[in-house]
């Protein structure tokens, strides 16, 4: 947690304390960006519920696109607390979600024509599953938030519906023991909630998917992160070593970040590193040929010395990128990734180093 988030917690607790004599409270929210201070003037009487709707505005749609591209993602937050959708009463459902804008919007969009409450936990602007893994979408925060919004004053039905993926941070029995609220886990995807409410839950609703669409959604974020470093690297390589190394850098990024996510299920090896080595070798082959042919006047062993580095560097770099892709997938395990790092990272490291050494050596000889 950084200092600004600490400030936020301090600021919120000192200002949203309910006071029956005063109806005006200043809510000061310091966002994670220390330079930007959002001050919201809120009017609060007895009611601490914020009304919301299930429709998504054009501005919000723009925010979704930016968030999917990894831009301004950490600022895309909603205020933790209790929200009302439609006209809920004491028998209405209570749904729980994270305070990441996309999580909140996905939930309320799925709840059109359902009168209900939405309890938003403070997950520091992180989605439900990742926040559950970190513990911020957790038992303690849920119990704290139930008390903070005085949820018992609004509902007679003491049942909370949580997203299934929140379960890795929440101990349902512990929440019930300490608050009296029973935790029910809804489906993985918010869009299945209407069916879930009619007791039509299928096994498929309880499984995470990682189909072609799910995988392609992840590409823009990766590209945003890698765009500038790639351009700089290409420019450096172009001026230091020429056009072929610059092209190689571009192909490594395209293979690792664009092609690999789409091809994961079809690359026929069991783990990410070997998939990367295989894909990298396919990319390296034409570069090897190109490098070999671009020195027509050199002796064959010099040509070989200048071309072989591509076969060492390109697969090792693509494999390194794909190994790091494990974090963006919903099925890799902690122990599995650990084994993979120990088994394959040394190979990547030495292949890369050998490639750079041979390439540099022959450039000086040549």
């Amino acid at each position: 947690m950084n200092s600004s988030q600490g400030n936020e917690a301090k600021c919120l607790s000192s200002n949203i304390r309910y006071n029956a004599h005063s109806t005006v409270h200043l809510i000061c929210v310091l966002t994670s960006d220390a330079h930007r201070i959002i001050i919201t003037l809120g009017l609060f009487g007895i009611n601490m519920i914020t009304p919301t709707t299930s429709s998504i505005t054009l501005t919000e749609k723009m925010q979704h696109i930016l968030a999917r591209a990894g831009l301004r993602r950490s600022r895309f937050r909603v205020r933790p607390g209790l929200y009302s959708l439609g006209n809920p009463n004491s028998k209405s459902h209570v749904f729980v979600t994270a305070n990441y804008g996309l999580s909140f919007d996905t939930l309320r969009r799925a709840l059109s024509n359902i009168d209900c409450y939405i309890l938003v936990l403070d997950t520091k602007g992180i989605n439900v599953w990742c926040a559950a893994g970190k513990g911020t979408f957790g038992t303690e925060e849920l119990i704290h938030r139930i008390g903070e919004v005085k949820l018992k004053d609004y509902v007679a039905r003491k049942i909370l519906i949580l997203p299934q993926l929140g379960a890795s941070g929440i101990a349902a029995h512990e929440v019930e023991r300490r608050t009296g609220f029973k935790v029910e886990y809804g489906p993985v995807r918010a869009s299945d909630i209407p069916q879930y409410l009619q007791n039509h839950t299928t096994p498929n609703m309880r499984r995470v998917s990682f189909n072609f669409k799910d995988r392609s959604i992840l590409i823009p974020v990766e590209l945003t992160h890698m765009f500038l470093p790639t351009i700089i690297l290409m420019a450096l390589l172009y001026f230091l070593s020429g056009p072929v190394p610059a092209l190689a850098a571009l192909l490594v990024v395209i293979a690792g970040l664009l092609v690999f996510p789409l091809l994961i299920p079809w690359i026929p090896t069991p783990n990410f590193s070997t998939k990367g080595f295989l894909l990298g070798s396919i990319v390296a082959a034409p570069l090897f040929l190109l490098a070999f042919l671009s020195f027509p006047s050199a002796i064959w062993w010099k040509k070989l010395g200048l071309a072989v580095p591509y076969l060492l560097i390109v697969p090792s770099l693509v494999a390194f990128i794909t190994l790091n892709y494990t974090g963006a997938t919903p099925f890799t395990s902690k122990s599995g990734v650990k084994r993979e790092i120990f088994a394959y990272f040394p190979i990547m490291f030495w292949m890369f180093l050998a490639g750079v050494f041979i390439g540099t050596l022959f450039r000086f000889i040549g």
């Binding site: 299934q164 029995h173 309880r206 494990t326 974090g327 395990s333 599995g336 084994r339 790092i341 088994a343």
Partner: protein, 92 residues
């Protein structure tokens, strides 16, 4: 090296199971099945060690070394010397 999917830290003690079905409900990969009012470890190799089943098991019949399956987080954690890898504030 064998496929990582063949090994998992997930452990299940069937003698403790009360058959509440919570493990099957929370698992995003269908690792547990319910047969004859008892949980069965049906697909252990699909486990991603998220820890949801163990955390929601009232009788502690399940244990797993839960954590993130992210190479970046693990490499950063080992560089920093911290034992528990987590993503940074800018990550997911």
């Amino acid at each position: 090296m064998k496929s990582k999917y063949l090994e998992t830290t997930l452990k299940y003690d069937a003698t403790l199971c009360t058959g509440c079905g919570m493990c099957s409900t929370v698992c995003p990969h269908g690792v547990f099945d319910q047969t004859d009012g008892m949980a069965q470890l049906a697909r252990p190799t699909a486990c991603m060690e998220c820890g949801a089943c163990a955390l929601n098991c009232t009788v502690r019949a399940i244990s797993v070394d839960a954590g993130t399956g992210c190479a970046t987080a693990q490499m950063i954690a080992s560089l920093k010397g911290s034992k528990e890898p987590t993503c940074g504030s800018g990550c997911c």
